[in-house]
Amino acid sequence: MYDIIIVGAGPAGLTSSIYARRAMKKTLVLEALSYGGQIINTLSIDNYPANPNISGFDFATRLYNQAKDLGAEIKFEKVTEIMDSEGFKEVVTTKGSYKTKTIIIATGSENRKLGIPRELELTGKGISYCATCDGAFYKGKDVAVVGGGNTALEDALYLTDVAKTVYLIHRRDEFRGEEALVNALKNKNNIKFIYNSNVTKLNGDNRLESIEISGNDGSKKEILVSGLFVAVGRIPENENFRNVINLDESGYIIASEDCHTNVPGIFVAGDNRVKDVRQLVTAASDGAIAATEAIKFINNR
């Protein structure tokens, strides 16, 4: 029986494991893909205290090694279900099942898709969800970004330095993202804003050649682009916990800053929790709180 099982080896989950191990709790971290979570896509982290310019990969690797050195057990298995039984809890994975006194859910989120035909087929053939990863392939080409938040604005800004023309497509007439970014974009001479519009069709034989844009007024037009960068938000990865844990209407786990879910002994940490600020530092912060609360739960029994 484990003291604490942590689901997810991103910054929230690994930080939890550090606190858990420092309190000498028997700790297992279960991860479906690779440690680090979405931070590994970041070229340079410039807003984490005391560590300017570190790459997302280096940050994640240092965190992973720190957790391992402290004795956290880390297994690469996808969690499919959790169960709350009398006196203990159970975590089921694709490879087995584990008993534990407490659980911390730190699964984070994944990219929201546009949800239009051929999106999956053309991913990697013109459709991308990461401008900093794939922007370099579009030197001197025409590309589009779809979205209205900070990620969309940052992607568009990055791409204006690489691509020939960048179309920024947004379904509203105003951006949700920071004004400073919007202003920086407006100063670029190779950006074209397309407001009140959605991407409705993807065209091209083997790779993306053009997209269809539909305006909220019913108008349609086709623009020629070789790349489309999708930045329409993220969705929390909580579906497998829905049977035991209360989620809000967007799928986030309902919990306050103390990271307690509706089930005693099950906690949540990081981007998959209801919260206002989703940053690396707040993920780490949640990790510390959730682990401390889990330790308290175990010691008080």
Binding site: A32, L33, S34, G36, I40, N41, T42, L43, S55, G56, F57, A60, F76, T123, G124, K125, G126, S128, C133, D134, A136, F137, Y138, N206, R207, G227
Partner: protein, 104 residues
Amino acid sequence: MEIIDVNKDNFKEEVLESNIPVLVDFNADWCGPCRMVRPILNELAREHDEYKIVSVNIDDEEELAEDYGVSSIPCLVVFKDGNEYDRSIGLRPKEEIESLIGGN
């Protein structure tokens, strides 16, 4: 087998003319997910000698990336008998990469 670096001069010999299947890892130094994939590929390379794994740095080998339509990395392309057999994009768990090469 060790992973070897391939460029446009030896791509034909190492990949297209290979008598065993080849997994080509298109990657770049600045790409975090590529660096995550690398240890998995190292393990596979050590565990298997019925196929080989080679690495193409897309910054140095723009032409190869262009020729094979790579526009998103990490991109893993499997070649069998000189022809593309399968490919996958993005970070994948070890089991998926294994079945990409071995899959029928």
